[in-house]
Symmetry: C2
Subunit: 255 residues, 2 copies
């Protein structure tokens, strides 16, 4: 069984995005057991993604943030976050995204991060990553002309001391943050409260341009060990190896 | 001379937004004397805004971020930020906005904050504020169902200790931050490195729903004293009086 094409995966994400947009700005949120938010949009989008991807990859396992689990008959697992940034979605911010990731064993081999409101679609299958159909260059090839910035989770003021000399932005979605690192807009990202479904899709994109994840305290992220849905056991840095080293020097670990 | 209608002002902002969108994602930035960024888009949008607003309000003074100044013959001054969030614009983030503000003496009496990429238009003339043509309720009437958050400038990690118990987001544009407070999405905002052109347009919208600005150290902002274009002499809080008091208790002043 092969991985679907980039165009097939993007088309599914775009259809899912249209469903989510239908709920945006008039949706009621509930709290899940872990106190995070969920809406009817999250559930409807997950159902659509599971249905369409099951047809394309009938033997792949599936795990989705809103509860879908299916055992794999083979090396592939589809990892879904129907809406990453549900809190942003509920607040009316347009920075939420649809995440479709594919793991082969422990490796993220394909991913789509689609932002319906911002009309941006990041994707990768294998070693090539794209933004809206244009190939993204490998990281480190050039340097951005604008202000230096990194991205951070929204509770860093309470968890870390950050001595990074540039700007720190917090836009409301883990996967969007990682996608912006892959795009070369941000130097790196400090991720908090992450799960496998936030990490696989943008991780495939980041990997295709020469970046990756490490725990803030050191050590790699083994994505397949998080497939039971538990929270990643630590803050995570995203970027090139050089950016991760730079970030680690500028972010105090929590006590 | 009267203030133009909300519909007239919104239409001008939307035309300006279309010009800016034409440059978005393929623009080169330069540094101004104050080390902030400017692009051809900022200059072209300012020229469009000055031209169209001059026709509507020939006696009004004008001040624009990119250098326009015209003396007033009467009580009104048009205060323009062609692109608030130029650094976000240059980085490819869709959170930049077009700001048209009108001061009558020291009071912001009308404003439009238009986000072309996010397709959101905030506006107010007098005591009514709107988002995409729908009346915004006065602040404090209800409470949001989602996660509590505030907005902050992107250097707060280096300037303040923040003990706010919710999330802190930094989206890349002062005026968008204030608009989100006026909308009731965010509880308040901590603004840094502000000028009169960042403050008047969203200030008119915030005022219409019962909010306002104060310096973090205490005291009101006299917008007309900033018409010479100097940086506001201190960090600014935006919100209802209760939110400003709450924020002041949770944000340490810089040493």
């Amino acid at each position: 069984m092969s991985v679907p094409s980039r165009v097939e995966l993007e088309a599914i994400a775009v259809r899912a995005g249209a469903v989510a947009l239908g709920h945006f700005r008039h949706v009621k949120a509930e709290r899940k057991a872990d106190r995070t938010l969920v809406t009817a949009a999250d559930r409807e989008v997950e159902a659509l993604l599971v249905g369409e991807l099951s047809r394309l990859m009938p033997d792949a396992g599936i795990i989705g943030e809103e509860g879908t689990t299916r055992e794999a008959r083979g090396p592939h697992r589809i990892v879904l976050d129907p809406i990453d940034g549900t809190a942003a979605f509920v607040a009316g911010l347009g920075t939420w995204c649809i995440c479709i990731g594919i793991l082969e064993g422990a490796s993220p081999v394909a991913g789509v991060v689609h932002l319906p409101r911002l009309r941006e679609t990041y994707s990768a299958v294998g070693d090539e990553a794209f933004l809206d159909g244009e190939l993204l260059p490998r990281l480190g090839a050039g340097s951005a002309s604008g202000d230096r910035f990194i991205l951070s989770h929204a509770r860093s003021h309470a968890r870390h001391r950050i001595s990074y000399p540039g700007k720190v932005r917090a836009l409301g979605s883990t996967a969007y943050h990682v996608a912006l690192v892959a795009r070369g807009s941000a130097e790196g990202a400090l991720l908090g409260h992450t799960h496998v479904w936030d990490l696989v899709a943008p991780g495939a994109i980041l990997r295709a341009v020469g970046g990756g994840y490490e725990y803030l305290r050191g050590g790699p992220i083994e994505l397949d060990t998080l497939l039971d849905g538990r929270k990643a056991p630590g803050y995570i840095l995203a970027g090139t190896p050089a950016a991760i080293a730079m970030l680690r020097a500028h972010v105090d670990r929590p006590a």
